[in-house]
Symmetry: C2
Subunit: 309 residues, 2 copies
């Protein structure tokens, strides 16, 4: 039996200890720890990494602190439009959705696209019709109405700025959640979910639903989930790039992540980070921003929790 | 001055000489040759590869024979929903749109997203609002109404099949158009445009608008445009994979294309092909299907045109 391992992120960006209260910090840590526990419960029973990824992300989506699911930020039109994707390292199957509304857990919809449709990527109204056909759990608008997020929209509209995430007046946090896991069968999986950017217009799609950019898993190399300024992550095909540096150049997970996040992305101007896991159970939680909500847990080891640099 | 070169495709799939009339074949060849001429006119004057790619693709989009722009196939709801993307090898900037309607030239909208927005990927109604703001050319529904395409939808609905493209009763052709080019300044560019799949439902998005999967350009390696069963091209991150095999493994363009299209895609079950160009002006037109509409032209050389294996 392969030892299991799991890692999650809850977004990266300008997360400064100086603007955090002890209560808020404790709440974030509890959210991260709950999500790890949800994923680990699956892995401990010998369940699949795919299910562990789904459960950990559902936990983060249900938590209003994170920009995904319930806590999604508001678009320019005051709506919540969410994106998610998931990939199975064993056979490279994948599912993704973009621009869905009123879906309680977009990550579960992405998994349904992977397993119950002949497609990989569904978007907008069509994706919601597919969810309806499968009777996926829906929630009314007020479920997603988090007062703090609405204040962020009002602020962003005043300055006509498109903020990447939560807030903090300044550049703010880059809101996405994600998970990578390896199960006792040695299979890797990765998933990512987001509520997008506050005040976003024009049906913008970031890297979250893009296989190869925001999410990638391949048993030959690694599982990756990204968070950051999506446009740069798309242009750099970040998740697949880490995998290719390992597969074709023979780099370690750590070397590959460092080159992509600390060198290539920085040169492009792309702020953010990623979580990564290889088949040996190595875990990397790498970011070039001020902070990244992150946690990881290896079988029979203690929980790691981090927020700042 | 670097010698310029350009290559295009008009889709891959089950294209059999036995089901082709001499008139139809001549029309396809004229369409390909016109598109090369449109792109070459830009390159000959010392223009940018990005503009050559846009002009060649506009020519294919305006031609009802190809599944893009005017000739787009019909969705299940009898609509034309189009996707396109473009990438600049010089600085890795990129633009993409998905699920747009009534836009005469989706490739020009993708370029506008790249150059006139802070985003890479816009979808659906939002992408159309962006097009409206920029006053991009629109056409009414009947401009896109090609009788043959509507017959294909009726046939597909009768059998509830989702066909990948044009038709032929059988599996049919896989409809996409694309272009790769290098200009006299030595810069690479790539673009792809499609009308999607006949009878498509649920807002399905294929590989065409996905940077790294359907389209990729990087002056360090190559420019790629794909056509085929998009789901497999997404899962295999095809265009970026060719680039990584060159950059990290030191393979030639020809070796990298062969591995990805004839080995990796075949093992996954993915039918289709791609066109590729490197900075030395090497051109690859590779496919694992029965045929691929294709053409290429190097500066001071004669035009190459191909349809079948």
């Amino acid at each position: 039996m392969n030892p299991y391992a799991i890692a999650i992120h809850g977004g990266a960006g300008t997360i400064l200890q100086s603007s955090m209260t002890p209560e808020k910090e404790a709440a974030y840590k509890k959210g991260l720890s709950d999500a790890i526990a949800a994923g680990e419960a699956v892995l401990k029973k010998g369940g699949r990494s795919l299910s562990a990824v789904e459960e950990a992300i559902r936990s983060l989506e249900d938590n209003p602190l994170f920009n995904a699911g319930r806590g999604s930020v508001f678009t320019n039109k005051g709506k919540n439009e969410m994106d998610a994707s998931i990939m199975n390292g064993r056979d490279l199957t994948a599912g993704a959705v973009a621009g869905v509304r009123n879906i309680k857990n977009p990550i579960s919809l992405a998994r349904a696209v992977m397993e119950k449709s002949e497609h990989v990527f569904l978007s907008g109204d069509g994706a919601m019709q597919f969810a309806e056909k499968l009777k996926l759990e829906r929630e009314p608008d007020d479920y997603f109405f988090v007062a703090e997020r609405f204040e962020q929209l009002k602020k962003a509209k005043e300055t006509d700025s498109i903020t990447l995430d939560h807030n903090d007046g300044s550049k703010g946090k880059i809101g996405t959640v994600g998970c990578v896991a390896i199960d006792v069968h040695g299979n890797l999986a990765a998933g990512t979910s987001t509520g997008g950017m506050t005040n976003k217009k024009f049906g913008r799609v970031g890297d979250t639903p893009m296989i190869g950019s925001g999410t990638y898993a391949n048993n030959a190399t690694c599982a990756i989930s990204c968070t950051g300024h999506g446009e740069f992550f798309i242009r750099a095909v970040v998740a697949h790039d880490v995998s290719c540096l390992m597969e074709y150049k023979g780099l370690s997970l750590s070397e590959a992540c460092k080159i992509v996040v600390q060198d290539k992305l920085v040169k492009l101007g792309g702020e953010g980070g990623l979580i990564a896991l290889d088949t040996k159970g190595n875990i990397e939680l790498v970011f070039n921003s001020e902070g990244m909500y992150r946690a990881s847990k290896r079988q029979d080891e203690s929980l790691y929790l981090g927020i700042y640099k």
